[in-house]
């Protein structure tokens, strides 16, 4: 318990969390601080490339572990199944209609790569190793949840559905292509390749992450200011409960397939985190009736900060206990 608290405190006063808080404050106080769209996009490309590349390099170093396939499968199963749980929970405790609930559910089956990255750095800070290929698992989890949500809507009598071209669009989504591509490049070029570009993708990584989280705080804060009246207390409760549920399922699967303690934490984070980039765009195409204010606020305004501040330390503590390491 003191462990969680210590971790949580150390986590809370890290530059990345405080940068997020600064952005949140600036937006809520209506400061005109903004980060240009092109700069935000540039940073996200940098982060995806760096995290993918590093994952690939670690595979090149440690070889492909027997659990790789099972981890990928576990991720896909999580992404497909979590939306059903999220949907049921939302219908139970909120008044969202089927379409809105399905759209929210899609976000929680999918993942937030920045939460994953933040988890990676907390683990690194604590000296805990994790399987490099979890980056590939992250990529594999981006899309399946969208299909589940569309199925839920179709079978719940709602409108909307699989538009032609949507599946290709989802699977060839820029962030998936970049993450997987960088992962493969890292895997092919290995430590040699890494050494050439480490001064770019590794050393400044934490600092770029700070500015990126500043931006996410700004965007989240602006969203929260708009969301008054749309998001109820019960929805907020969902935004905190759902990641906990997801993480426990992730924990179980991680233990089952024999991931390392660090790997389990990352799988828990993937299960617990909610998308706010790829899935929202897909929802605008597939479920235009669903209200973006609801799913963006829950994902970016509630679950993201929860995971960043309290979630990650909790998942680490749970994994440590379960893996018998604490």
């Amino acid at each position: 318990m003191t462990d969680i608290l210590n971790l949580a405190t150390a986590n809370l006063i890290s530059p990345i969390i405080l940068s997020f808080a600064l952005g949140l404050f600036a937006a809520l106080a209506r400061s005109d601080l903004t980060i240009p769209e092109a700069v935000a996009k540039g940073m996200s490309i940098y982060l995806l490339f760096a995290i993918g590349f590093k994952g690939g390099v670690s595979i090149a170093a440690h070889g492909i572990d027997a659990t790789l396939i099972s981890a990928l499968l576990a991720g896909i199963v999580l992404s497909f199944s979590l939306p059903f749980i999220a949907f049921a929970l939302l219908r139970l405790i909120t008044r969202l209609n089927a379409t809105d609930a399905a759209a929210v559910a899609a976000h929680y089956g999918s993942i937030s790569i920045v939460t994953f990255v933040a988890g990676t750095s907390v683990l690194e800070g604590a000296g805990i190793m994790a399987e490099g290929y979890l980056v590939a698992v992250a990529a594999a989890m981006e899309a399946p949840a969208i299909l589940s949500a569309l199925w839920l809507v179709a079978h719940g009598g709602g409108e909307g559905g699989m538009k032609p071209g949507l599946l290709r669009e989802i699977l060839l989504n820029g962030s998936i292509v970049l993450l997987v591509g960088a992962f493969l490049i890292g895997g092919v070029t290995g430590q040699d390749g890494f050494d050439k570009i480490a001064a770019f993708i590794d050393s400044p990584f934490q600092g770029v992450l700070c500015l990126f989280l500043l931006d996410m705080g700004l965007v989240a804060g602006r969203g929260l200011r708009q969301a008054k009246g749309v998001v109820t207390l019960n929805m907020v409760a969902f935004g905190i409960t759902m990641p906990l549920i997801g993480s426990v399922i992730g924990l179980a699967l991680g233990l089952l397939i024999g991931l390392s303690q660090g790997g389990i934490v990352l799988l828990m984070i993937l299960a617990a985190s909610a998308s706010y980039i790829a899935v929202p765009a897909a929802m605008r195409v597939a479920l235009p009736q669903a209200n973006p204010a609801v799913y963006l606020t829950l994902s970016l305004g509630v679950t993201f900060p929860f995971n960043l501040t309290l979630g990650i330390p909790i998942y680490m503590a749970l994994a440590a206990t379960a893996a018998g390491g604490a």
Partner: protein, 102 residues
């Protein structure tokens, strides 16, 4: 200068639908359009801004200059894409140089 009557159609549409709209215009035989960025706006679904956004969010403005007689075909094609979505379609009378291009 010799000018020719035309219609200027402006479609403000969600960015993730841009490709679908331009595909529909191509299919409807529209010979040209220009895509302009939009940095923010307000409507029934609230205010938004592009600042700091990472995903394909926000809206874009697709502008078509077209011969008057082809307006209906264009509007039908555009409307099929825009209809279930937020977005605004407006038409203005215009005149163009070099009508052979349209």
């Amino acid at each position: 200068m010799e000018m020719h009557d035309a219609k200027r159609v402006s479609i403000v549409i969600e960015a993730p639908l841009e490709g679908r709209l331009t595909d529909a215009l191509d299919e409807a035989g529209v010979t040209g359009y220009t895509i302009m960025p939009v940095t923010g706006g307000s409507g029934r679904s609230g205010k938004w801004t592009r600042d700091g956004q990472v995903g394909r969010s926000g809206m874009v403005n697709v502008i078509c200059l077209i011969r008057p007689e082809r307006l209906d075909g264009l509007l039908e094609a555009a409307f099929a894409v825009v209809e279930p979505h937020i977005g605004v379609v407006s038409v203005t009378d215009a005149q163009v140089l070099r009508a052979e291009r349209f």
